[in-house]
Amino acid sequence: MAPRHVVFELAESADVTRLSDYERAGGYESLRKALAMEPAQVIEELLASGLRGRGGAGFPMGRKASFLPKPDQTPKPIYLAVNADESEPGTFKDREIMLRVPHQVIEGILISSYAIQARAAFVYIRGEYLTEYEVLRTALEEALDRGLVGANILGSGYSVTIVLHRGAGAYICGEETGLLESLEGKRGQPRTKPPFPAIAGLYAAPTLINNVETLATVPRILALGGENYAKLGVENSSGTRVFSLSGNVARPGNYELELGMSLRDLIVGIGGGVPGGRQLKAVIPGGSSTPVLTADELDTRLDFDSMARAGTMLGSGAVIVIDDRCCMVQLALRVAQFYRHESCGKCTPCREGTRWMVEIIRRIEQGAAGQGELDLLLNVCDRILGRCLCPLGDAAAMPVASYVAKFRSEFQRHIDEGGCPFRGTSSLEGVLAPVDEHHARARARIEVPA
């Protein structure tokens, strides 16, 4: 029988944060195996595994790796960028992966680097993740001492450098091209595509970008064999994912599950359901940017296709449970404020649209909005959707539009009753976003001659 856990398998029975323990549990065997293979064969294994990106977009990793030119096809060095910026509200899986299996992350980076023949790998780690950074750094130092990283790894003739880079607190730097700009020392703002990073990424060189979990899965795929890994999960959604379960649920936490289980299995079966005898009202299935599901949709399965059929997404695997105390207008405000605050300001619809959304929702929440403003809100969402430079604008518009679509009567009551029907009892009351922007006020001290 294939194991239920893949990412955390080695950490199940022992602490494997130290190199020696990780090796004792079988760690770095996959690296040895990979180094004995041709790089193209490694990519074949990834293709066979059906592994799809765990960062949000779910793009098949093997296919993305195969888009990169081979070293003899490009005059530039090839790079791997590791997305450890984990900032989507509700998501906290990558931090646990880095904390519990740091060497598996490094091993995955090494195998993937070898597969694309990268010269260097850059780990872009969320600035607030200080402990995770320290753990990863310690592991990297151990690996360096053992000759697992750096020049001529394990005598294979392959060399790669791993660089840890701490971010400075911007959600947008998790978007892959924003991440690259930030790594280059520029303002973290997304780039227009094409050119895609596989062709012109970091310093205009071919770059593969993958999420921490995606990469941490790679050594296990090599150990199991791609085809065996593909047997886990369901069609088009092979393997396991680490779901971050949070919100109004009895046992929140990270749970690694085979793809294809239902939301009910996770929330009720594993998470213990909504506590305190309250009713489940809604579920955000894949991080704050994904459209909401209602209590009636609890049997939707956690795989890419089922989620798409339900009009939403698996996203970053962050399942947020919402009970009946929550005002959906306040939720909309909270989410819109987050995206307004995190909009990088590069493109018009997102920069101006998210601000406008917040203003309209605030008026609805306060009961100051007229009837037309609900449709105005939907129209503003519509004019953001699909028109921005990067998906952040969509990430604001999609969930808010879904709240209105699925809980329209609640929005309507705010308008009709001139205020919030929850009258101060909503679970989100008082926990609105801290939106005071930390912005530098430019001082004028330049003299103009008369």
């Binding site: 911007a170 300001g345 018009t348 406008w356 105005l376 430079l389 530098a440």
Partner: protein, 734 residues
């Protein structure tokens, strides 16, 4: 030659158009006569940004609207703009609605109003009404980001044109975006004034009234102005410009893209110095020195008589000193008066560039596509011919190797060694430090050679190198003259007679001296000559320069008041157009009349035709063979003790015009001396410290600035702060 690019056919709004593969969609549409509206798109700023989303179009087969500016034409593509697609129309209207949400709509008192892309596009594609009922974002405004530019953050639509110009074109890195999302603002780095040679271009680039000129602010409305196409005659580049006039006065100067010359950029001198025409000390009437009464304003006819009388008395003992800013026609009139009318043969020419380079003539734009660019000479290109600096930067961004060899070069060489460098690079076995560069120059497909220094023979040396490298079409060699039309003036002088100019450096008395223009009047050699002259006839714009030794002073004109031809550093003849009336007769009219009195027939007007964008004449002449000058090699010992070789350069922001525009004062060179890093630390001198420069009896106190690119033993000072100092100086802490 490469094969012509493959053609592709696309359909835009049901019109089919065939364009070379790779053509952008915005340009392709234009070719079909269809507008795709843009704000952030500006190909001169680098790759498309895709930020404003104004250009959204529908593309068949793609579910979402696409930013047209980021795409190029692919065969068979079917594109729909707002004209034929409701989705695209909604996209464009939506973007404008978003932009206008926070726009103050203060068009009635905005300088841009009436010539504003935001107004125009709103009219064509925008919503008729506003659905916004909440507060607009507000900022302090306007904020001066320099004495020249005011920033209104409320009007800013965050297209990032200005910051991209600063970062990716001028590469000064001074304009930045701060904050995030709806709080994003444009600012200068660390709130320092935007002090850079090309800062004013951001005013042209700004598609709204967020960046305005403090010089032009509130001076005119667009419907009461006239834009006259002319060229800038403030430096030897000759950028094409629009001069905006209102009620007979020049109110502003804007760039007018000549793709081969300036690429649509303009330096701040060309853009802002025009206000010198209105200076309070501007001369407006002829002045005559009358015994016992001093300088007295006289009628033009009387000035003409006095000039006639003074010159007639001088016989053939006459010298003319040119400024280099005269038009070809002015120089021709004056030259023929002197050489044919008076029989004299002596001129002081500020420039006399060797014509040898005409064999390697190429448009300035060719620099951008060079693989290797070499700059030699002692003076900074940026100060001498600023636009050339932009072309060199563009070349480097495009992957070219740009190497400067000189006192501040990547390869250090002593002052005055440019000729030796050229010879060494042309030789079969160049010295060690130049070997790699010599090889790269030989192997490159396209090369650009630039001489940036005062030596008139530079062109010949550079031509020698160009010949050795066998430079073909696509490559170019450029000598940067000191003055705007030095080339044209020298040509006119030479064409007016076949005698050689006599060296005026003796000390015998001179019958008469003609000083043509304010620049000549400031030349120390001219001042010395005037002492020896019995009669001095001067043309000048400004009184305080012109007084002194002159007997007759004629009010001079500025380039914006002249009709005529100027020859730029490429050898391109460009037509100056009179944009406003001068205060009196212009020089050409005066000297034509004077010449007639001496039997020489000179046209008092300009015959040259008007080309909106002047073409470059074909290459001419053959490459000369130059013997290697016996000169110093590239390397030298570090300065011993506190002894330095002094390199002085003429700062761009200097001269009579700049001095009369208060807004430009901050751009003038600081009273500083640049010192090499090694020497400075050896002498324990840090940036900002006061130092004394001494040569013989002369001493000057300046602030030190450490410049790590300077060659050891070299100190550099702007000409205006180096008065009286010799070529070698001793420097110590004050």
């Amino acid at each position: 030659m490469s094969a012509p690019p493959e053609q592709v056919t696309i359909t835009i709004d049901d019109r089919s158009v065939s364009v070379p593969k790779g053509t952008g969609l915005v340009e392709s549409a234009l070719q079909a006569g269809i507008e795709i509206p843009v704000f952030c798109y500006e190909p001169r700023l680098g790759p498309p940004l895709g930020a404003c989303r104004m250009c959204l179009v529908e593309i068949e087969g793609l579910p979402k609207l696409q930013a047209a500016c980021t795409l190029s034409a692919q065969d068979g593509m079917v594109v729909r703009t707002s004209a034929t697609s409701a989705q695209a129309a909604d996209g464009q209207e939506g973007v404008l609605e978003f932009i206008l949400l926070n726009h103050p709509l203060d068009c009635p008192d905005c300088d841009k109003g009436g010539e504003c892309p935001l107004q125009d596009l709103t009219l064509r594609y925008g919503p008729g009404t506003s659905r916004m009922v909440v507060q607009k974002r507000t900022f302090d405004k306007p904020i001066p980001i320099s004495p020249l530019i005011a920033l209104d953050r409320e009007r800013c639509i965050l297209c990032y044109r200005c910051t991209r110009f600063s970062e990716q074109v001028a590469e000064d890195g001074q304009l930045v975006a701060l904050n995030r999302g709806a709080s994003s603002i444009i600012a200068t780095f660390e709130d320092e004034p935007y002090r850079a040679h090309f800062s004013g271009n951001v005013i042209d680039l700004c598609p709204v009234g967020a960046l305005t000129s403090t010089v032009y602010r509130f001076r005119a409305r667009p419907w009461e102005i006239q834009n006259v196409p002319t060229v800038c005659a403030m430096c030897p580049v000759g950028c094409n410009v629009w001069a905006t006039t209102r009620e007979g006065k020049v109110a502003r100067v804007l760039a007018r893209n000549h793709p081969e010359v300036d690429g649509g950029w303009l330096c701040d001198k060309g853009r802002f110095a025009h206000d010198h025409l209105r200076a309070a000390d501007r001369l407006t009437e002829p002045i005559r020195r009358i015994r016992m009464r001093g300088l007295v304003a006289v009628p033009w006819e009387e000035a003409l008589d006095a000039a006639d009388e003074g010159l007639r008395a001088a016989g053939a003992s006459v010298c003319v000193a040119f400024s280099g800013g005269e038009t070809v026609e002015q120089a021709d009139a004056l030259s023929r008066l002197v050489r044919q009318g008076l029989g004299a043969d002596v001129a002081l020419l500020p420039d006399d560039p060797d014509p040898a380079l005409d064999a390697f003539r190429a448009p300035l734009a060719a620099i951008r596509s060079a693989n290797v660019c070499l700059v030699v000479g002692d003076e900074p290109v940026l100060e001498r011919a600023p636009i050339v600096d932009l072309w060199l930067r563009a070349a480097r961004r495009g992957g070219a190797e740009v190497v400067t060899v000189g006192p501040a070069g990547a390869i250090a060489a002593p002052p005055g060694s440019a000729a030796a460098i050229c010879a060494a690079l042309a030789a079969s076995s160049p010295p060690e430090e130049l070997r790699e560069l010599a090889r790269d120059l030989r192997e490159a497909d396209r090369v650009a050679l630039v001489w940036s220094g005062d030596d008139d023979t530079g062109g010949r040396h550079l031509a020698g190198l160009a010949a050795a490298l066998e430079l073909g079409e696509g490559s170019g060699a450029y000598f940067l003259p000191r003055t705007p039309n030095g080339r044209g003036v020298a040509q006119a002088w030479r064409a007016a007679g076949d005698g050689r100019g006599i060296d005026p450096s003796g000390d015998e008395a001179l019958g008469a001296l003609i000083v043509s223009g304010d620049e000549a009047l400031r030349d120390t050699r001219v001042v010395a000559l005037a002492d020896r002259a019995r009669f001095v006839l001067t043309t000048a714009m400004f009184m305080n320069e012109a007084a002194g030794q002159s007997h007759v002073i004629l009010p001079g004109t500025g380039y914006l008041e002249r009709d005529g031809t100027v020859v730029n550093l490429e050898g391109r003849s460009q037509r100056l157009r009179r944009t406003v009336e001068p205060p009196g007769w212009d020089e050409l009219a005066f000297f034509a009349q004077l010449a007639r009195r001496f039997g020489v027939d000179v046209d008092p007007w300009t015959r040259a035709g008007v080309d909106e964008l002047a073409a470059l004449p074909a290459r001419s002449g053959t490459a000369p063979v130059v013997a290697a000058p016996a000169a110093r090699g590239p390397q030298r010992a570090a300065g011993a003790g506190g002894d330095f070789e002094l390199v002085r350069y003429r700062a761009l922001f200097s001269g009579a015009a700049v001095e009369r525009v208060p807004q430009l004062a901050f751009q003038r060179p600081a009273a500083e001396v640049e010192l090499p890093g090694g020497d400075a630390s050896r002498l324990h001198i840090a940036t900002g410290e006061r130092v004394v420069l001494r040569s013989g009896e002369v001493s000057r106190e300046l602030a030190a600035r450490v410049n790590r690119r300077l060659a050891p033993g070299v100190a550099r000072v702007a000409e205006e702060h180096a008065d009286g100092l010799a070529d070698s100086v001793r420097i110590e802490k004050a």
